[in-house]
Symmetry: C2
Subunit: 500 residues, 2 copies
C-alpha cells in the first residue's frame, strides 16, 4: 500500500514535467514507444460524427426487426484492428470499451485469424456437439491447456457454459445442490423431496437464498437478476426472489489516503452481512451462497480492500455458505492479474469462480465438493462451445508470449496516473479516479455531463463506456499499451478543456 | 385426419409385402433409393462395444475436470459425415439423436465447410460483437435472409440469444414487461415501482406468474426451471416460484383412433387451465403468459391436437395472457414443417415463439406489442452470435435447395409406418408409436427395457435417445432419407427380436 502511494506520487511529479499547463494541450510522453501492436492502426481517424449516415440508415433497417434503442453505431469488423474499432462510415476509434469488456487481445488478432485457416479446426466450428454427452476427442486436452491452465488457486474443476448469465445460474444451482446435500447429511432425497420439486414446492424446491450486494451485477436471467442490484432498467417488472441484499462498501478514493474511514465502512458492511445471514436463516430461507464481484463493474466500478474479501470469505465459511466470486467482467487479465481475486493474495479465495466475456466462453470453476453429486443436475444441450475454447487457448498463448499481464500493469499505472492528473486539473468535473491494471474508472460531476463527455470523446475518436450513475469505465483490450494511454489522455484532456 | 388414416393403412398393407415374417429378418424396401446424401457413409460400422477403450480412457481424463456421468462416448467429429457419427474407437453410428436434436443437416455438410473457407467470413468468427450496441454491417441483412425468412405467421420481429434457456428467460421477461405496462396503462412507472424493484420487492418486482404444463421442459436456469416439469433430476434442490402448472393432455395413440376420448381429455385440461388462471389472479399472482411446447419432447413426446392449441390460444387471449410457444426442440423442420405450430393451421398462432438447437442460434420471435418499451430491458453482452447466423443462413439455403421439409415428411411417413408395424409385431414391448415428420417416438414396456434397447441398438450402430419415463425419441437430421429409415428399422427389429 505504502509503496504504491510513493510510486504514484513519484509518477505524478515526473508526469508534470511532460505536460504543458494550458488546457487542451497535452503531449505524449516520449518515453512511450509508439506502438508495440504490429497489427494496430497508428491512431483514430474520424470522417463523420457518430453515428454517421450509413450507421443511421442501418439502424433504421434493423429497427424493423429489433429494438435499436441501445445501438451506438454499426461496425466494420473486417477493417477493425488491434485497439481500433472501425465503423461503417469509415470512422476509426480507439476502443476503450471493447464490446463491454469482451475482446481480450484486440480486433482481428493475427493469431486468431491463423487459427481459423487451419483446416484441422474446421470441424470444431461446423459440428457443435452436446458437450455433456458426446464430447470431441480433444476436449480434455483443450480444457487442460486453456481453462485449467489458468484455474484459480485451489480449483481443478471447471464447467463451461454459453454465456455469463448461464454460468451464474448454474453456479447458483451448484451451490443450492451442495447446500441441500449437506442439510440431508448426503442421504437419498425423501419421497416428499421428489414429489414436491415437480410442482415447485418445498422441500423439493427449498426456500434457500443467495446473498448478494447492493450495486452488484450478475446477469439478467431470473435467477441472476435476483442478485443484480445495479440499475432499475435491469429489474423493473420482473418477478424475483426475496433474497438478502447486503450493502457494498462505499469507499473513498484514492483508497490509500482513506484507509481508516474505508476500513470502518467495510466493517459496517461485513457486520450487516452476518446479520442478514442470521435473519434469513430465522426466516426459513437460509443463505446457501454469497455472490460478489471483486470490483463492482456495471454498478459503478466500486472497489473493496483485500481485507474485506478475506473477512467475507471467513464469514461464508463460518456460516456454512458457499462463496462465489463472479469474475465475468474482471476475469481475463484487465486488472493486471488473470483473475482480479489474485490481488487478495489468498490460497483459497472462493468455492466458485464464474467467468465469460474475455474468456470467450462462459463457465465456472468450483471446488471438488461443489460438483453436483449426479449427472444431468448441471446440464443443458450445448454446455458451452468448443470453438470458443479453441480461441481461448490461442488467446492464452498470446497473453503468455507477449507478457500481456505485465503490459497491462504498466499501461494501467500510466492510465491511473494520467487520470489522477486530470482530476487535479479539472476538480469540478472529475473525481475518484480508481483502478487495478487498466480496469480503471473515474467519476464525473453528474450523469448528463458524463453522457456529454462520452459523446464528445467518441466524436474525437475514443470509444468509452459508462457505468454506475455517473462513472466512466475503462475497459481496453490487453494490447492497450502506454502509447495508447497517452493518446487517450490527450484526447480526453481536449474534451474536458472544451467542455461547455 | 381421415386422409392420414387411410394413407397409413394403405402404407401398412403395402409395407407388409416387403417384409419377411421371421423376426430379425427384415429387408430394405427396394423402393427406397440407397442414399441421396452424397457426403454420407453407406451404413454403420462397429469395431468395439461402445464406449470403446479410447472413449473410456478419455472419460477418465475428463473425469478429473468435470462430472462425466452423462458422457456416452467421445467423438471424432472430423470423420463424422451426414447421418453418421464416428467415435474415437472408429465406430460409425447412424445418428438418430443428433446431439439432442441440434444438428440440422448432418455432420460436416459441404455447404457449411465451404462457408468456413470463405475469407470474407473470418472476421465474423474472430470478433464477437456486443450485438445490442455495436452490430456488424451485415447484421440486418443476415437476420432478414435467415431468421426473418422463416418467421412464424404474424411475426416480423426477432431477438437472438446464445442458447435455449436464455431465449426462454428473456421471452418470459418480455411477457412480464408487456403485462405490467398494460396494467399501468402504459404510464411511467411510479417511484415505488422503481425503488422496490432494486430490492426484489413488489410492486417493482411484481407477483406475476407464467402458467406451464406438467411434463413440459423449457430449460434449466431458474426462471425456465420454474416452468419445467419433466424430471426430478432437473428440479430437485433448486428454489422456485409458486407458479400455476396445468395438466397436459394424456392422449391415446394413434390419435385418429381415439378422437373422442382424446377430445374429452383435452377439454378437461383446458378447463383446468382456465381455473388456474382465475385462481392465481385471486391469489394476487396473475398469469402474464402461458408457455407450451407443440410436442412435449423431454417429457416423453406428448402430443395434443391442433384444436387443443387453438382453444388454448383463445383462453390466453380471453384472460389477457401472452401465449408463448416454445419451439426449441420442435423448430427447424423435424416435424416436416419448419415450425411444429404450423400443423395447427393458424394465422396468429402465438405472441412469442422461442427457438435454439437446429436453428444454431437461440432467440425468440415476438409480436410488435411484445417488444420491450425501452432499450436495455432485454439485453446482455453478446445477445447471440453472428457466426451462428451465418451458419443458419446456409442451413436454410440447403433446406430450400434440397426440399428437405418434403424429404422429412416422406421419411417421417416411412418411419412411423415402420414403427406401427414393429409395435404390431412386438406388442409386449412396443406401444404408442407417434410422430410428425421424423419427430417420432415410441413407448417401451418399462424403463429398464428401454435403456437396454438403447444400449443394444448402439452396439449395432444406431444411436438413439430416450425421453419421458420409458419412451424412445427419434431426432434424425433433416437429411435422414427413406433409405436410412429402413436401415434403422432393420437394426431395430434385430434388437427387438433378440431381446432377452
Amino acid at each position: 500500500m505504502a509503496t504504491s502511494l510513493i510510486s504514484r506520487q513519484l509518477a505524478l511529479s515526473l508526469q508534470k514535467n511532460l505536460w504543458l499547463s494550458a488546457p487542451g494541450c497535452r503531449y505524449v510522453s516520449k518515453a512511450a514507444a509508439k506502438t508495440q501492436v504490429e497489427f494496430d492502426y497508428d491512431g483514430p481517424s474520424m470522417k463523420t460524427t457518430v453515428p454517421g449516415p450509413r450507421s443511421q440508415e442501418l439502424t433504421k433497417q434493423l429497427g424493423v426487426i429489433q429494438n435499436v434503442g441501445a445501438v451506438n453505431f454499426f461496425c466494420n469488423y473486417e477493417e477493425s484492428r488491434g485497439n481500433y474499432l472501425v465503423d461503417v462510415d469509415g470512422n476509426r476509434m480507439l476502443d476503450i470499451y471493447t464490446q463491454i469488456s469482451s475482446i481480450p487481445i484486440g480486433y482481428n488478432h493475427p493469431a486468431l485469424l491463423k487459427l481459423m485457416t487451419n483446416p484441422n479446426n474446421l470441424s470444431t466450428f461446423v459440428n457443435r456437439p452436446a458437450l455433456g454427452i458426446l464430447p470431441p476427442e480433444n476436449f480434455p486436452d483443450k480444457l487442460t491447456e486453456s481453462l485449467i491452465s489458468v484455474a484459480p488457486s485451489g480449483m481443478t474443476r471447471v464447467q463451461t457454459m454459453a454465456c455469463g448469465s448461464c454460468s451464474n445460474e448454474n453456479a447458483y444451482k451448484a451451490m443450492f445442490i451442495w447446500y441441500r446435500n449437506k442439510e440431508r447429511g448426503h442421504k437419498t432425497p425423501s419421497d416428499e423431496d421428489l414429489s414436491s420439486c415437480m410442482i415447485n414446492q418445498a422441500p423439493g424446491c427449498p426456500d434457500l437464498s443467495i446473498l448478494s450486494f447492493m450495486g452488484g451485477f450478475h446477469g439478467r436471467t431470473l435467477g441472476c437478476l435476483a442478485t443484480t442490484h445495479s440499475k432499475v432498467i435491469h429489474k423493473l417488472d420482473v418477478p424475483s426472489f426475496d433474497w438478502p441484499i447486503a450493502p457494498f462498501p462505499k469507499l473513498k478514493y484514492p483508497l490509500e489516503e482513506f484507509t481508516r474511514e474505508n476500513a470502518q465502512e467495510e466493517a459496517r458492511c461485513l457486520e450487516e452481512v452476518e446479520d442478514l445471514i442470521v435473519k434469513w436463516r430465522q426466516k426459513g430461507m437460509p443463505v446457501a451462497g454469497i455472490v460478489i464481484e471483486p470490483i463492482q463493474a456495471e454498478g459503478g466500478d466500486n472497489h473493496a480492500s483485500p481485507d474485506f474479501f478475506k473477512q467475507l470469505r471467513k464469514i461464508a465459511r463460518k456460516h456454512g455458505c458457499a462463496f462465489h466470486v463472479d469474475e465475468v467482467q474482471t476475469g481475463g487479465g484487465g486488472t493486471g492479474k488473470f483473475w482480479a481475486h489474485e490481488h487478495w493474495g489468498m490460497d483459497d479465495p472462493a468455492d466458485i469462480v464464474s467467468f465469460s466475456k474475455k474468456l470467450l466462453t462462459g463457465g465456472y470453476y468450483h471446488k471438488d465438493e461443489l460438483q453436483a453429486d449426479k449427472p444431468y443436475r448441471i446440464f443443458n444441450t450445448w454446455m458451452g462451445d468448443p470453438s470458443k475454447n479453441l480461441f481461448l487457448s490461442e488467446v492464452l498463448n498470446v497473453i503468455r508470449r507477449e507478457n500481456l499481464l505485465e503490459e497491462v500493469t504498466r499501461s494501467g499505472k500510466a492510465l491511473l496516473h494520467g487520470l489522477y492528473e486530470l482530476q487535479a486539473q479539472y476538480p469540478g468535473i472529475l473525481s475518484a479516479a480508481r483502478g487495478q491494471g487498466t480496469f480503471c474508472a473515474i467519476d464525473i460531476c453528474d450523469d448528463a455531463t458524463r453522457d456529454r463527455i462520452l459523446v464528445k470523446a467518441r466524436d474525437k475518436g475514443v470509444l468509452l463506456g459508462g457505468c454506475g450513475d455517473r462513472s466512466i469505465r475503462f475497459r481496453p483490450a490487453l494490447v492497450f499499451k502506454e502509447y495508447h494511454v497517452h493518446l487517450f489522455l490527450n484526447i480526453f484532456n481536449d474534451v474536458l478543456a472544451n467542455l461547455k
